[in-house]
């Protein structure tokens, strides 16, 4: 179960405007970094996640080089870049999913609401409940559709009774645009769905526990336009309350839903800025070369 008190406190911040004031801007580290970084750091009170000098290694091989990046509250940050440039890898740092890969080492500082994510005292489960994730390859549990969606609510104890749970399941599936297709076969096994359905099931599963930050690794890659539109609407909807980081290959999509866009290239963060800016007036020739390529 989410240590709800912590979550509460965060939510209360969002809900009650009795906000705390930023403390951290003057830290020399951040300043030093500012020289190097490609985008300017956001003001603290707006920051949801703050990453500084992140390096990631797979064994000997370095996949992410010295990336510093702030993720603002209530924003949709799109991550674009050529295949294999490290988008997924970076994304997986944000909720410590990289812990599961033995060979993977993460250096640098990543903070969620001022808590160090890689602090050994960090409650990883809580972190992951707060920073939800939709994976690149859909990976539903080999359980029923209902159980797939209800799982998070169950382990985090979000509901009081069966009807509340039913409600969450229905809600999440509906928001992911899957309810109508599966409402008659909630007991079928989730792996028997079509590719796009599986993808949406995974989205439904992730949003069922109301995370603060949602990491989406190409959430629409297997989706048709209608479903894509549903998901994009959902993202738009979600961002009023939550922070969303999404990897996408569709620049249109990035343009449509994101406020800021980060461009990765060969493990380096080349540029991060307002989405309009990136697409209309990229600050780096690599970015320009990429976005002026043919569009997906």
């Amino acid at each position: 179960m989410l240590a709800v008190d912590q979550k509460r406190s965060f939510m209360s911040v969002v809900e009650n405007p009795v906000d705390k004031v930023s403390v951290e801007v003057s830290v020399p580290d951040a300043m030093a970094h500012q020289d190097k970084t490609v985008g300017k750091p956001l003001l603290d009170k707006k920051v949801s996640m703050r990453c500084r000098n992140v390096d990631v290694f797979y064994g000997e091989k370095q996949a992410i080089f010295d990336v510093s990046l702030d993720i603002g509250k209530h924003e949709v940050l799109a991550m674009i870049g050529p295949s294999g440039c490290g988008k997924s890898t970076f994304l997986r740092c944000l909720n410590r999913m990289n812990d599961t890969i033995d060979s993977c080492r993460v250096l640098g500082s990543l903070r969620l609401d001022d808590e160090d994510i890689y602090d050994p005292k960090m409650d990883v489960e809580l972190l992951r409940a707060r920073v939800g994730m939709v994976f690149q390859k859909p990976n539903p549990f080999p359980k029923s559709i209902y159980e797939n969606v209800a799982y998070g609510a169950r382990i985090h104890g979000l509901t009081r009774d069966k009807t509340e749970l039913d409600e969450i399941v229905e809600n999440s599936l509906a928001r992911a645009g899957l309810w109508n297709e599966v409402k008659d076969r909630l007991d079928d096994v989730g792996t028997g769905l079509s590719g796009g359905q599986q993808q949406r099931l995974c989205i439904a599963r992730a949003i069922a526990i109301n995370p603060e930050v949602i990491l989406m690794d190409e959430p629409c890659s297997a989706l048709d336009p209608i479903a894509t539109a549903t998901v994009e609407e959902l993202i738009d909807d979600l961002r009023r309350r939550y922070t969303i980081v999404m990897v996408t290959h569709s620049m249109q999509q990035a343009a449509r839903v994101s406020q800021r866009t980060a461009y990765f290239h060969m493990g380096k963060l080349v540029e991060v800025d307002k989405t309009d800016k990136v697409f209309t007036n990229p600050g780096h020739e690599l970015t320009e070369a990429y976005i002026t390529g043919r569009f997906g």
């Binding site: 909720n95 999913m97 599961t100 990883v124 489960e125 992951r128 549990f141 799982y151």
Partner: protein, 429 residues
């Protein structure tokens, strides 16, 4: 030629090449399939051969030969004081009554040696049979009643299998022929085999003691080795990282599987009996020793099963904020269950048939009483089989096979459970 043209030419070649090779490949495929089928068939055939050879030898042990004698329950012999107290009835000389009845039936037998041969047609346990009858119904005393009594094993073997195997002397055969003509011989269900403990008289020997012992031993072995094995496998596969130390443990466990089982007996003797002071010959110790012996099998199978659960399932669970423990127990374990069950079944099958380590801890023994708990002295089925197989009396041969049949039934029951459980858990993704 342009690149594309080249490709076109190439393509035609390819189709041809594929078609050319296909015949051979299909033949190879068919052969492969046939090989597989033959393998399964071989396995089943071997099983059938083993089973038939055991069953054909053992089925006759489920019947026993009985002799009908008219016995005069002489009250002067049984209970001269007419007290009818149980104590008196217990101690009475029933064998004497049976002997008397036999003498009556064959009055011409006079010589001492022949008389002994005559008495030997009836089992030495017949007296107990009669005693039980009288104690149950004391009003029989004084009457003359026909009773079916257990025949001696030699007669039993002769009556079942005929001339060829007979150890009976010619004059004994004549008596038997007469008994048979008077319809005083019959085959009946051998209830003793299931209700009695071990005995040195084949016709009185039963497997109940060994079966009970096996039950306790297997219960302890299963109850300990399954959780221990599964938990150890989980730790090694999911928690312990990949390093020299875990490699060492892995090699060690694989190696334990190759340790001769009798060495586990030595270990059990040293640790459980000499050090911990547990009693010799107790199913508890047997269960502990067999647990240590089966543990490697279960751990190895369980690890293989855990390994084959795809990482994406784990990621999905962790990504939802499940703790590692929750991930393992809610997602990985159910998916790995079939493999773990396989390891357990094989391990248990092995444990169920093992004798060598039990020798060291005193379970290869003659124990007539039926154990009532895991601390009582007991043997187990395979030991019983081993001991009977080594007994001179011919009649023990069929009992050996029958005991094996019972053991296999035990095993089949366990397997049925496994089939059911596997069905429940198995799926492909």
């Amino acid at each position: 030629m342009s690149k594309l043209q080249k490709a076109a030419v190439k393509r035609r070649d390819i189709r041809e090449a594929v078609e050319l090779g296909l015949k051979v490949r299909k033949r190879r495929n068919r052969r492969f399939r046939h090989l597989g089928f033959m393998a399964v068939l071989t396995g089943m055939l071997l099983l059938a051969i083993m089973f038939v050879s055991i069953a054909s030898k053992g089925y006759s042990a489920f019947q026993r030969t009985e002799i009908q004698l008219d016995i005069k329950l002489d009250s002067d012999v049984i209970d001269p004081g007419e007290s009818r107290s149980k104590d008196v009835l217990m101690r009475a000389d029933y064998t004497g009554l049976i002997k008397a009845s036999l003498r009556e039936l064959f009055p011409e037998v006079k010589k001492r040696k022949q008389k002994r041969a005559l008495y030997r047609l009836v089992s030495s346990g017949a007296g107990d049979q009669l005693r039980e009858k009288v104690i149950q119904d004391p009003s029989l005393i004084g009457q003359r009643i026909p009773v079916w009594l257990i025949a001696d094993d030699d007669l039993d073997q002769y009556y079942k299998h005929g001339e060829g195997q007979s150890r009976l002397k010619d004059y004994q055969l004549q008596w038997v022929a007469r008994l048979n003509a008077d319809h005083r011989l019959r085959l009946a269900f051998n209830s003793t085999f299931f209700t009695a403990g071990d005995s040195r008289e084949p016709e009185l020997a039963g497997i109940r003691g060994a079966l009970t012992g096996s039950f306790f031993v297997i219960l302890i072995t299963l109850g300990l080795s399954l959780p221990l094995g599964v938990l150890a496998a989980i730790y090694l596969e999911e928690f312990a990282g990949r390093n020299r130390w875990t490699d060492f443990i892995e090699v060690n466990i694989n190696n334990l599987a190759a340790v001769p089982s009798i060495v586990f007996g030595l270990l059990g003797l040293a640790v459980f009996i000499n050090f911990m002071g547990l009693p010799r010959s107790a199913p508890l110790v047997g269960g502990l020793v067999l647990t240590l012996m089966t543990l490697p099998t279960i751990i190895i199978a369980s690890r293989a099963a855990l390994k084959s659960v795809p990482p994406s399932i784990r990621e999905a669970a962790l990504g939802m904020g499940a703790s590692k423990t929750q991930m393992i127990f809610q997602h990985v374990l159910p998916l790995a269950m079939p493999g773990m069950l396989t390891g357990t079944i094989i391990g248990m099958a092995q444990a169920l048939g093992e004798t060598a380590p039990l020798l060291m801890i005193g379970m290869v023994a003659f124990i007539a009483d039926i154990p009532s708990g895991p601390l009582d002295s007991a043997t187990v089925l395979p030991v019983q089989i081993y001991l009977w197989a080594d007994s001179p009396e011919r009649a023990f041969m069929e009992r050996t096979s029958a005991a094996i049949l019972v053991l296999l039934t035990f095993l089949v029951l366990m397997n049925l459970l496994a089939i059911w459980l596997r069905r429940k858990f198995e799926q492909r993704w």
